[in-house]
Structures are given as structure tokens and as C-alpha cells.
Symmetry: C2
DNA sequence: TATACACCTTTACGTTACGTAAATGTCAAT
DNA sequence: ATTGACATTTACGTAACGTAAAGGTGTATA
């Protein structure tokens, strides 16, 4: 199938100027130019465009993308696997931002003081990841694996052991909550246990614990039906 | 606590030029300027900066952010709740991109042909969401709720009924997989059932089904220990 | 056959959110 | 008194397009 600028732009959900620009900078040249000077794109270009958009999505600059896809050793299949890893990483970041938000919201409701440092925790982690994405292995090669990992761990402010304990608690909570939902009685012992575990879990990342803040967070979770879904069913990839 | 440009920039993980720029465009002015002309930021500015970074994270332009946070009716608490919703939305988009990627990878392994349209499905959905984020209610007010919803549904190419069935299958699969994991026998009847359900589930979104593609995807899932986690434990928000 | 209209072209200047450099002043410690 | 890490302003550069101008192309319809 062959496409003109407008056709391909509609297909890919971008505007035609973008395609002309990509031609201009030599990122994506059309298969051929017809007798009237129109750009005509073929199958190969469509697949290349898909690759380009994947990388763009990941925040890679167009010039980097150009290097990557014009590299003769470029292997689409392993590149796709890399994409996938990067996207999963990104979702992890998002989760962190969300949990940071939860902390902020709860702290405002419950009168807990968040330190200035904590207010920006989520963003900072995001920066780290963004850097990794943009400069790839370069940083690690320059400063060494160990230094980078240590610095990342430091920002989260947990030892590996603490982190393990924390994630462990999380799975206990879900199990307990499921049982509690099954019995359907919020006043039951199980629900009580779940709340207690949740409290412990929160203590790991919250600056200090308060009943009000916990209640505030719980109410928000109940209000947001999207959240209940998480405890109700599990999520698929 | 008071901060100078460098101090605040380190705290928030941005560079000092950014703070000077925000001062320049009137987005974030320092509390005061000391006798040597240094910018000094106070508590209020720190909280405002956190808000600004949240909005920036969501892709809102600085001029829009300026409007929003200087609006006298601006309410931080409800803004935070909105932030949370937007981030959850965003994670949903990411999931879509990932599933699109899975399809691409599997189709290459299994020799399934993806139509040109399908190759860009994930990006398109992302564009829609991005528009919503940037122009907010404006589009809906202009064209009406219904038009927007219909167009979104159309892009996904499913009726509401199909969509329900699809998500339903997903939860059946997880249940079955859990049981299968519990028995620990991959050749068991349960595992067989899970694979079958998974096949059905894939059929909803894949252009056509092939054993090879399915096996390819399964292998990839097994290879990626992050994926096994999803079926092993459930995820917390 | 003419006209309308939606497409295509190139040239070129504008925009956003900073990056970067230059030239210079400030402050705490040795 | 000097060093070195901080601060300041001015000002030009950059990425990835947006947008407008001025015009050619292709096909359906009066």
C-alpha cells in the first residue's frame, strides 16, 4: 500500500508537516517522488515510522532516533523488546508519582507534615529515569554501575532489606483484603487485620502516621472507583 | 525554611535556569530579593512549585499553568485529586501502548500480519488522551460528550458489549492461572484451560490467531521476570 | 470547458521551554 | 588575600514543529 503525506499522517495520527520535517532532516525519506513532486511512502517507510514514533514516545530526540535506526547493526526485534522494558520502567515511575501524590493528599487531609524533600521525591525519581532513557548506557559507563545504583537506592531512602519487607507487606495486604471482601463484612476481624497491615505498609513511606491521614486516604480510595477495581480484580498487562 | 535558587533547584531536581525563567515569565516569583540581589524562596513558593511540576508532568503548557494557579478559585486539594485521576489515566494509556507493543512483537515472531492501521493504534489512543489533557473540557463542550465518546470507542473498534466480555475473560484468566500456579503443574488441566482462555482473550484484539505467535508471546512473558510478577502477585497502587 | 475544492509543494518566520555562554558580583573558608 | 563555589544579567542558540504565504495538481461537478 502506498500513501501520500496526508494519507500516512492520518494513518499514524500525526500531521503532514511532521512528515515533511522528517524528510527535511533526513529521518524519514519517502520511497519516491512522483511526477508532480508529491511524496509517496511505501511499506518499508510505514514500518520505519512506527519505530520512530515508538522512540519518540520514549522521549528520545529525533537526532538520536536517526542514529539508531540508521545503524546497520540495528535489530528491530531486540529494539522492540527494549522498548517494552522502557515502557514498563515508565509505568513504575508513574506508580511512584501516584504514590507520592497519595502521600501529599493524605498529609493535607490528616495534618501530617511532609518535609520539603519528600514533596519532590516522585519528580526526582522521574528525573533519574529520564536521564537513563536519554543518555542510555553512557552515564553508567562513565561513573560505573555501582555508583548509579547506590545513588538511586539512596533517593528512595531504603535499604534492600527494608524494601523487601515493604513489598512483602503489600502482598499480605492484598491477600487479606480479598478475604475480607469475600466475607463482605467491613467490621470483621479480617478487615481489621487488613487495615492494620495497611497502616504498617504506609509507615514505611510516610513521614509519620496519623489515624486521620489513614482515614482520609481510605476514603479517597473508596471514592475513586478505579481504585476499588485494583483490590477487586487484578490487572492484566 | 528558605532557599536560594541552587538550594531549591537541588531540592526539586530542576536546574537553576528553570527557576530564573519561571521568575522571568511571572510563573513563580521568589518571596523576596535579598540585599545582594539573590532570589529567596519561602514555604509558599515551594508548595506552588510542587503544583507547577505536577502540571508540567501532565504536559500542560507553562502559560496554562500560570492561568490555573493564579486563578483565585484555584483549590489545591481538588487539584491534587485531579492530578491523581490524570496520572491514573496516563497509566492506562501506557498499558495500551505496551499491549500494542506486545502485539507487534508477537506478530513478528509468529508471522502474523498486522494491518497498517493496527500498527499505529496505540499511538492514536495516546493522542486522544493527550488532547483531552491539554484542552480539557473545551472539546467536549464544543462537540458534545456523545461525539467524543463515540469517536473514542470507534478507534478501539469494539462495542461496549465486546469490551465487557473481553475484560471478563481477563479476570477469568488470572483466576485460572493462579490455581494453575498453585498446583504447580504446567501440563495440568488448569494450565491448559488458562492457555485456552488466554487465546480467546488475545483473539479479541489480535488481527488473527496463530499458535506460534501465542507461544512467542508466552515465551516473552516467561523471559521477563517483571511479567511473571504480575501473575504471581498482584500490584498495588 | 470552466470552476470549485481539497489536496500537494516550497520558503520562511514564529514559538515554547529552556541550554549555554559571557561577563561580573558575593560570600565563607583557608 | 585569595580561592572556589555560589549568585547575577544579557543574550544568542536549539528542538520540533506551528503557521502563514504563495502557488501548483487532480478530480468531480455545473
Amino acid at each position: 500500500m502506498e500513501y501520500t503525506v496526508k494519507g500516512l499522517s492520518k494513518l499514524a495520527g500525526i500531521i503532514s508537516r511532521t512528515l515533511r520535517y522528517y524528510d527535511e532532516i533526513g529521518l524519514l525519506k519517502p520511497t519516491r517522488i512522483n511526477s508532480s513532486g508529491y511524496r509517496i511512502y511505501g511499506q518499508k517507510e510505514i514500518d520505519l515510522l512506527q519505530q520512530i514514533l515508538f522512540y519518540r514516545e520514549l522521549g528520545v530526540s529525533l537526532s538520536k532516533i536517526k542514529e539508531i535506526i540508521h545503524d546497520p547493526s540495528f535489530d528491530i526485534d531486540s529494539a522492540l523488546i527494549e522498548h517494552r522494558k522502557a515502557l514498563i520502567e515508565r509505568r513504575k515511575q508513574l506508580d511512584l508519582l501516584i504514590s507520592n501524590l497519595d502521600k501529599t493528599i493524605a498529609s493535607r487531609k490528616g495534618g501530617i507534615k511532609m518535609s520539603d524533600k519528600e514533596k519532590f521525591q516522585g519528580f526526582k525519581q522521574k528525573m533519574i529515569e529520564e536521564n537513563e532513557r536519554k543518555y542510555g548506557k553512557e552515564i553508567r559507563e562513565k561513573y560505573g554501575e555501582d555508583a548509579v545504583n547506590k545513588s538511586n537506592a539512596k533517593i528512595l531512602g531504603m535499604t534492600q532489606e527494608q524494601y523487601n519487607e515493604w513489598t512483602n507487606l503489600a502482598s499480605q495486604i492484598t491477600e487479606t483484603l480479598k478475604e475480607a471482601f469475600a466475607t463482605g463484612d467491613p467490621g470483621s476481624e479480617l478487615a481489621q487485620k487488613a487495615a492494620d497491615l495497611h497502616k504498617q505498609w504506609l509507615s514505611f513511606t510516610w513521614p509519620s502516621y496519623s489515624k486521620e491521614a489513614h482515614a482520609g486516604l481510605a476514603q479517597m480510595y473508596v471514592d475513586d472507583e478505579r481504585f476499588t477495581k485494583y483490590y477487586d480484580k487484578e490487572q492484566l498487562v
